[in-house]
Amino acid sequence: MAPPQNRPGLSRTGFSKKAQFGLFTSYVAAISGAALGLVLLIVSLLNPTTFAFARNAAADAAEPAGQISATTRTGGKSVIDVISGYIEAGSKNARLREELAIARSRLVEAAAVESENRRLKALLGVRETDGKPVAAARLIGSTSASTRRFALISAGRRDGVREGQPVRSATGLVGRVLEAGNRTARVLLITDGASVVPVRRVKGDIAGFAQGQSDGTLVIRLIDLGINPLKKGDVLVTSGSGGLYRPNVPVATIANVTRDGGIARIISDPAASEFVVIEPIWQPITELRASDAPQAE
C-alpha cells in the first residue's frame, strides 16, 4: 500500500475503512449540496420569481422581529436627534422659524394650485386613478449585506399590497413592490441596479431615466442628448410617463453633472423614513367626455 504522503486522504483518516468511507460520504454529501445550490441558482437566475414563495414565507415568519427592530430604530434616532439639536440651538432656531413660515405659505399656494389643477382636469374630462394609498407600513428590514437593494415592509397581501405598486415615504419615492407575501412584502428600492424610474426636472420639460447604482446614488440619463441643462441642486420628480409611478413625486437631487445627465442623490433616505405608504399602480387614462363629442361636430 502507498505510504500516507502519497495518498493524501490517508493521513487524515488512517487505514480504517470505516473512517475512509465516512469521509467519502461526507464529501459526496457536500458536493451534492453544492450541485443542488448550482441548480437552484440557475433556476432562480432564469426565472427570479420561482422561489418567491419561500422568501415570502420566511419574511412573514420573521416579521415580528423586524417590527421590534423598526421601532427601536426610530426610537433611537429620535433620541440622537434631540441631543444633536442642542448644538447651536439658538441661531438654528431663528433660521428654522423663518424657513418654516415661508414653507407654510408655499404649501398653501401648492394646495391651491393642486385644487385648480384638479378642477381643470375635471373640465377636460381627464380621468385618472385617485391617489388614495393602498396601505401604510413600516420598513422592517433591508438587504444590507448584498449588493442588491431590497427592503422589507410590514404590509402584505392581506393589506391589499400587490406586485408593482409604488412605495413612497413622506419625503419622496422609495421603490416599488416586487413580491408580496401574506404579511410582508419585498420592495425594490430605487437605488438598486435593476430599478429604472422615468423622471423629469421640476422646472421645464427635461425628461430622463434614473437608474440605481447600488451605492445610494442614481445615474440620470437624459432623453434629449444635446447641451446638458442640468445643474447641481436640481430636483427631479417622477414624470409619470409609462405608468406605474404617480407623477410629481420627488425622487432625487443632482449632485454631479455628467456628459449625458448626472449623478443624483436620493431625497428620501429609507433609513430615515419611519412609515412608508403603498400606492396603487398609476395608469394615465385620458378620455374625453362622451357628451362633448356629438356637440363638437
Binding site: S26, L40, A59, S69, G141, S142, S144, R149
Partner: protein, 185 residues
Amino acid sequence: MALIGDRLPGSGLFARRINRAPSTMLATAVPWLNIALASLLPMSPVIASAPVLPPLAFMFLIGWRLLRPGMLPLWAGAPLGLIDDLYSGQPFGSGVLLFSLAMIGLEQIDGWLRWRGFWQDWLVATVVIGAYLMLAHFIAAFAGGTLNPVLIVPQFLLAFILFPLLTRVIAILDLLRLARVKVLA
C-alpha cells in the same frame, strides 16, 4: 463510569459533575442556531442604502469551521446557505452554492497549511470572505444588479476587521454550549 479529570485543577473543565452534565442537544445545536440567526440580521435596525453590513452568517460559518474543525459536517453549507438565501436578497441558491464551496475549500486548506494559529486563521478567513463577496457580487450583478466591484470594498474591510471579534463571540458560545445544564436524575 470514571470521573475523568475531576481531581486535577484546570483540566476536565467540561466533564460531568455531581448531578449535572452537558446536554448533547445544546452542544450540537448551538453552532447551527448561531449561523441561522446571523442570517436574520437584515431584519436589523440598519436600513442600508449601500452594502455595508459584512456577511455575518458566512463569517460565523468560517469561524466555527476554523475554530472547531470537526463540529460542523462537511455538508453543513447547504442547509445554512438555504436559510441565508431566504433573507439575504441574493438570488436563491447562491448561498447554498457558495457556503458549500466554502466548506469544501476550507477542508482542502486544512490539509495544506502546516501551522495553525490566530494569524493563519485570520488570513485564511480574509481570503475566503473576499472570494465569497466577489462571487456573490458577480451573481447578484448577473441577476440584475450593477457590476461595480468597488462597492464591496468597504464591506470587505469591515469584515476583515470584524473577524477576530467574531471568533471571540464564537469562543463564548463554545463555553455556553458545553455548560452543564442537564440535571441527571
